[in-house]
């Protein structure tokens, strides 16, 4: 099955610029599972920041670019719950040729793994205590359900601990984080407190935007808990995860 599929990686602008490790992890993981990954360089941003702030007309060129860049791929896979939700829920609402079709072919990484490849054991090894925050878009917009959890449960060495109040928003919310900085920070601090209370050494999500927020609050508080994208956990095997503890992320910076 995996041989003939044309799979395009939609890296997202945030991951491209700030979290390339996540992108490399997705490539590593998918190729390990026998998937041939393409990366159309014409791709850019899904338009979520513009769209969610009300700039619909600034969004349209990005919707067009997305549809064109990914034409011809059977599946478009992205390591971001919120970008997948943006594409699936909102791109079809634009009068752009191919937008609805591209939206239909777009999958968040865990959906692709569980629903298309039919795997939950991806051969990962990650000897750490991890807590999982189901991001709002993953949870409510995409309805990822227990897919991330099922994948995490099959990671060797990993101990998954429950996050109290897991379904509450972390407070990122795109431009909300600066427009309503006080409320956003208060939400972030409560989320960070819940994370720390689990005793986990890492908090993982399917979205680096939320992790940037949660991680930013944790780091400001001097917490050693490390934000890790789910893809990076799933990509680790004995060799890469062992010595350094958490792979080689640029987010490492435990002070």
């Amino acid at each position: 099955m995996a041989e003939r599929m044309r799979v395009g990686l939609f890296i997202t602008c945030v991951n491209d610029t700030l979290y390339p490790d996540t992108g490399r992890a997705v490539v590593t993981l998918l190729e390990r599972l026998g998937v041939e990954v393409g990366f159309p360089e014409a791709q850019s941003c899904c338009g979520q920041p513009q769209f969610n702030t009300g700039y619909r007309s600034e969004t349209e060129p990005l919707v067009r670019r997305y549809a064109e860049a990914f034409a011809g791929y059977d599946h478009i896979v992205t390591p971001s719950g919120s970008c997948a939700a943006m594409v699936r829920d909102h791109h079809p609402g634009f009068a752009v040729p191919g937008a609805a079709d591209a939206a239909r072919r777009t999958l968040e990484l865990t959906e692709f793994l569980v629903d298309v490849l039919g795997v939950t054991d991806v051969g990962a090894y990650y000897p750490h205590t991890v807590t999982y925050h189901p991001t709002c878009h993953g949870l409510r917009a995409l309805g990822l359900g227990d897919r991330p959890r099922r994948l995490l449960e099959r990671v060797r060495g990993l101990e998954l601990v429950e996050l109290p109040g897991a379904e509450e928003c972390c407070g990122f919310g795109g431009t909300f984080a600066v427009k309503n900085a006080a409320v956003s920070t208060s939400m972030g601090r409560d989320k960070a407190r819940a994370v720390v209370s689990t005793g986990a050494s890492a908090v993982c999500t399917v979205d680096n935007s939320c992790l940037m927020h949660i991680g930013g609050v944790l780091r400001r508080a001097g917490s050693p808990v490390r934000p890790v994208h789910l893809a990076e956990i799933l990509a680790s095997t004995g060799e890469s995860a062992g010595a350094t503890g958490h792979g080689t992320g640029t987010r490492g910076a435990i002070r």
Binding site: R32, G38, E41, N52, A141, G173, F176, N180
Partner: protein, 517 residues
């Protein structure tokens, strides 16, 4: 003024009616400094939230009920004029009188005249959002009529010269000690005083309120209410409440005046059945509502001899013209969206600056009042778009979708309906810098070469990046660290490792790769 607008004085109770907030973020930030308020809110919202979740989980057909509720309301909204005419006929046939009020002023004038016609100078009130929305109490006071709130929480708000901060629990921002102080210091001015040795035990507080209110129920000749539903086929009004005070107001006076938003009509009793399941579980987490009062016009020798229904538009017909925004009119005011909202929980109800706080307020107020003021233009942004409100809403209002729709109205302007005519709105002022950033970002993102260059520059200078940003970025770095910019973007890594030799596809990057296919 500024420090007290959320009204949490240690010792109550000089007139501390909250002023109108300048904008949502400022008000929310001020609320965030009030730890007592936050604790009250957190405790109350989480308690109701959990109870609601359990009550809803008991019903296996909840999704169907919810879909039915949404469908009935949508159907009503599509033919609202027909349903209202049918309702008017039925109410009139049953002995009631129907008045039509285009806006708040007209509604207030009608009610004032009706009370004057009775010769009375006081009225008792059932808790009502519509009269809150139009500022009826203030209008009546201006005409020499005193309106007494009889819902326990509304009583607390009225005695404290305060404003409601929650749809269901208007005094949610008050704790027991404050309520005791308010009762002790203020009840005497409004009628029967509270005992001097009143403590903050709930039973004592309730008893003081009961005695105070009983006097008013027995004396009043005019009652004023809203209604949760109006059944068009029979002209029946429905008020859903938990305390029984509402039933007193609805049955004891000689004249009853109900001010009801036009969207509250349902076609038939069969439709009502759906909502009488949806509402109690969503709002108070009860399986069945404790006091459901229904009346149809007037009945000789039973209840009020005169019944007036004031049908309130006040912007609703304009909202109806907006195909995305109109779903806000499905709302049955259960307050479930407030109780799950992480923003409401941290901002409190007063920050929303209207009778409608929380997520529903954030989508309703900017539609009813427009987005002309700084406050109203800030409301659609009072959300992280987490979607918890949409998930619990018993009539499936897609609140995040409407929020984004209204954000578009704020920053891009566009056509809206105001008092029946189409008007082209200009983009709101104060967003010029943001608009420029969004446009520049879109331009860059639409030119991957520009993005690549920017990433490379950022990567090279990454050691120089400050930990604290100036300008709008400070709103981030004041409380959160920034991620470090990596030396190499993903794009660049891909080019370097993939495109160079193999021409894309399967060339090896970093890390091991054991194909299992």
């Amino acid at each position: 003024m500024s420090g007290t607008f959320l009204g949490m004085p240690r010792r109550a109770v000089p007139g501390n009616r909250p002023g109108a907030p300048r904008d949502f973020p400022t008000a929310a930030e001020a609320a965030g400094r009030n730890t007592t308020l936050l604790e009250n809110l957190r405790h109350a919202t989480h308690t109701i939230r959990d109870k609601r979740a359990r009550a809803v989980a008991e019903l296996s057909d909840w999704p169907e009920l919810r879909a039915a509720g949404a469908a009935i309301k949508d159907e009503v909204l599509l033919r609202l004029d027909d349903h209202l005419e049918r309702l008017e006929e039925a109410v009139t046939a049953a002995g009631g009188t129907v008045h039509w009020a285009a806006d708040a002023d007209e509604a207030n004038r009608i009610v004032t005249e009706l009370v004057h016609a009775t010769g009375e100078t006081e009225a008792i009130k059932v808790k009502s959002m519509a009269t809150q929305e139009i500022g009826l109490n203030e209008a009546l006071a201006g005409a020499g009529i005193t309106a007494y709130e009889t819902d326990l929480a509304e009583l607390i708000v009225q005695l404290g010269d305060d404003l409601p901060s929650h749809i269901l629990v208007p005094a949610i921002h008050r704790n027991r000690a404050e309520i005791r102080d308010i009762f002790r210091e203020r009840m005497g001015e409004w009628g029967r005083a509270a005992p001097g040795d009143l403590t903050d035990r709930p039973a004592e507080l309730a008893e003081a309120a009961r005695l105070h209110l009983r006097e008013k129920f027995l004396r009043a000749r005019v009652g004023i209410s809203g209604a949760n539903f109006m059944v068009a086929e029979t002209g029946t009004m429905v008020v859903v409440e938990s305390e029984g005070n509402g039933r007193m107001c609805l049955t004891l006076p000689e004249t009853l005046i109900s001010v009801v938003g036009i969207e509250k009509v349902v076609p038939t009793w069969r439709d009502l059945e759906v909502f009488l399941q949806l509402l109690p579980r969503s709002s108070t987490a009860e399986r069945m509502n404790p006091y459901t009062t229904m009346w149809t016009g007037t009945t000789e020798g039973d209840g009020p001899r005169e019944f007036h229904l004031v049908l309130l538009d006040n912007g609703r017909t304009d909202v109806l013209a907006d195909t995305v925004g109109r779903q806000a009119l499905r709302c049955i005011r259960c307050s479930a969206c407030l109780n799950v909202c992480p923003v409401y929980e941290r901002a409190g109800g007063h920050a929303y600056g209207s009778a409608y706080p929380g997520p529903i307020g954030a989508i309703l107020t900017p539609q009813l009042r427009g987005v002309g003021s700084e406050l109203d233009a800030s409301l659609p942004y009072a959300s992280s778009l987490c979607g918890a409100c949409y998930e619990v809403c018993p009539v499936a209002i897609d609140i995040p979708r409407v929020l984004v729709h209204l954000r578009e109205r704020v920053v891009e302007g566009g056509e809206v309906t105001v008092r029946g005519s189409r008007v082209r709105l200009r983009p709101a002022r104060g967003h010029a810098a943001e608009r420029a950033v969004m446009r520049a970002a879109r331009w860059a993102l639409d030119h991957p070469g520009v993005v690549r260059a920017g990433q490379r520059a950022a990567g090279r200078t990454r050691r120089l990046h400050p930990r604290r940003l100036p300008g709008p970025g400070a709103a981030w770095t004041a409380s959160r660290d920034l991620p470090e910019v990596p030396a190499e973007s993903f794009r660049r890594w891909w080019r370097r490792t993939r495109e160079a030799g193999a021409g894309g596809g399967t060339a090896s990057g970093d890390g091991q790769r054991e194909d299992r296919s």
